[in-house]
């Protein structure tokens, strides 16, 4: 799965009745008042899913997507085709989400009675997503995902939840592939601890939904909670030597 597979940007225009993403963007820059809307309609569901699952709050996600797409609308002329149009759009949306999460972390809000906002920038409550096959499990998994450092969360949303290839996630987030792998790996390990997947049969089960894993406190303490986890690693994926 790639973000641009449905609408290749640069090729196949002659074979397709529909304009490519790149053609639509160019038309928008050239003054076509409808072109950008067509482009947005093509991709808005995926952009929405990424935003909602990254930021975890419906209204925040809506604002982030709107801000991002308005920014893309204004700045379309700057797109040079170095990446797929959809990658560019995803990048803007994800960055808008990360900006909001970080701003929320810097300026904590008073939690609302429904718990929709939390000080850690993550989910304070379940996102209003469509019901999952196992709703309770989905809630717990979402909560564990929301508890991750934002960089790990964003990487896991793109790669594991949305199914984007690592290379595309790297492009969207503007980091090396090795960094994405590391963020995903450490995020999964942390979630595995939180969700109790690292317990043996002799361990006490963790408190459901509270992220408890008393039997693994020492191990949990070794899973980094900071965003600089990857950079601390001797292999230093952030240096790009994994590419």
């Amino acid at each position: 799965m790639t973000t641009g597979d449905a609408h290749p940007d640069a090729t196949g225009a002659a074979d397709r009745p529909e304009p490519t993403d790149a053609e639509l963007l160019r038309a928008h820059v050239d003054g076509d008042p409808q072109a950008f809307n067509v482009l947005v309609r093509r991709h808005r569901d995926r952009l929405w899913a990424v935003a909602l699952r990254t930021i975890g709050d419906r209204e925040e996600a809506a604002d982030a997507v709107q801000d991002a797409l308005l920014s893309a609308h204004r700045g379309a002329a700057r797109f040079r085709g170095d990446s797929a149009v959809t990658t560019w759009l995803h990048r803007i949306v994800v960055n808008a989400c990360l900006d909001r999460i970080r701003r929320r972390q810097a300026h904590p809000t008073v939690p609302l009675p429904d718990g929709r906002h939390s000080d850690d920038g993550g989910l304070g409550g379940p996102e209003p997503a469509a019901p999952a096959p196992d709703h309770d499990t989905a809630l717990v998994v979402r909560a564990a995902l929301a508890a991750l450092p934002v960089e790990q969360r964003a990487a896991l949303v793109l790669v594991d939840v949305q199914g984007y290839p690592v290379i595309e996630a790297a492009e969207i987030l503007g980091v090396a592939e090795g960094t994405i792998k590391s963020r995903c790996a450490r995020g999964r390990a942390r979630m595995a601890l939180t969700l109790g997947h690292l317990r043996t049969g002799s361990d006490e089960p963790p408190g459901r939904g509270d992220g408890g894993h008393a039997g693994n406190r020492a191990a949990a303490a070794r899973v980094p909670s900071g965003s600089g986890a990857a950079a601390q690693h001797p292999s230093a994926p952030d240096r790009g030597d994994q590419q």
Partner: protein, 343 residues
């Protein structure tokens, strides 16, 4: 497995190994040897592999549920984009058109347009400024806010700090729309930041109404001294404002346009987007602090001479640099006049 059983195992390193982040690195063999030789590592590896697989399955299960954009949010987005299209279609809302509207005989004399929302657009006579006869990307004018809007803009920026890493510098954000008094100015600036981070290739950006400006661009005309340079940071970072008359040498009561006329000729080159971008890059290079994030840019004076005063943040702090008109030109570098760390 208990915490005690995990002791002695670097779960970060093990997670990276399991996740393929160590592939092809020397650590891959190191961890493989530990797993082969050390029972605690072997047990942890087996457990982590199972746990990671379970988590991956659960996350994929989340992703298997379609998540279409709700109708109300789609409608809101459509309306916002329609409004943006309308704005961009207006004569003053198109940067290139604005540049083209500059009479060819204006030379390098700034042409002041009163843009909607109180922003003042200074369109430089692009043809002579760049030595070419037609409008080009590097001739896009830079917008500065009028005094009437400056105070409000600071409040907005204080609420939603906007910055641009020079390495990924892009001109977006504080355009006419942002100064236009809309209720969502704050969120617009956020989007600008996102787009800036998202468009490292955007240095020649044409940001429609006004070529966007990094953070806050002003034209105070203030005459800074070494001793007062540090107050730029206070002015830029703190809202409410530090009154301008608190800045030593400030031409109190002097109109912004008057200040422009004084500094305009000497600094006109830097009111062209690419020149200003090159200047920021030069500051980043010369300071050795790259990447830097511009917080404010003031077309002003330093020790009586025309200067651009740039307040920026970088890893480890915040600085203010005063640079001369040749900032960013080949062979000159930043044309640094003075600098001070303010945070």
């Amino acid at each position: 497995m208990t915490g005690a059983e995990f002791s002695g195992v670097d779960i970060d390193l093990l997670a990276d190994y399991v996740g393929g982040a160590l592939d092809g690195t020397p650590d891959e063999a190191v961890v493989a040897a530990l797993i082969a030789d050390d029972p605690s590592w072997r047990d942890a590896h087996d457990l982590l592999c199972g746990g990671v697989a379970a988590v991956t399955t659960q996350l994929q299960s989340l992703g298997s549920v379609p998540e279409a954009m709700p109708a109300d949010i789609s409608a809101r987005l459509d309306a916002a984009l329609a409004e943006a299209s309308t704005e961009s279609a207006s004569p003053l809302a198109a940067g290139p058109r604005l540049a083209e509207s500059t009479p060819p005989d204006q030379g390098e004399e700034p042409v002041v347009h009163n843009a909607p929302g109180g922003a003042t657009v200074i369109a430089i006579g692009g043809a002579r400024a760049s030595g070419r006869g037609t409008a080009a990307p590097d001739q896009h004018p830079v917008a500065v806010p009028s005094d009437a809007r400056r105070r409000r803009m600071r409040r907005l920026r204080g609420a939603a700090p906007v910055g641009i890493a020079a390495g990924v510098l892009a001109f977006v954000g504080f355009g006419v729309q942002q100064f236009g008094g809309s209720a969502d100015s704050q969120t617009d600036s956020s989007a600008g930041t996102a787009a800036e981070q998202s468009a490292p290739q955007a240095a020649t950006g044409q940001d429609l109404a006004l070529p966007g400006v990094p953070a806050q661009i002003s034209e105070s005309g203030l005459d800074y001294r070494q001793a007062t340079l540090g107050q730029v940071g206070a002015r830029a970072m703190a809202a409410p404002d530090v009154p301008e008359d608190k800045i030593a040498g400030a031409p109190s009561g002097k109109s912004t346009l008057g200040a422009k006329s004084e500094t305009g000729d000497a600094l006109s080159r830097l009111r062209v987007q690419q020149a200003l971008l090159a200047c920021i890059d030069a500051i980043a290079d010369k300071s050795g602090l790259a990447p830097i994030t511009a917080q404010s840019i003031d077309f002003a004076r330093f020790d009586g001479a025309p200067a651009v005063v740039v307040q920026f943040t970088a890893r480890g702090g915040s600085w203010v640099w005063a640079v001369g008109p040749r900032c960013g030109t080949p062979g000159v570098g930043a044309d640094k006049l003075a600098s001070v760390q303010v945070g």
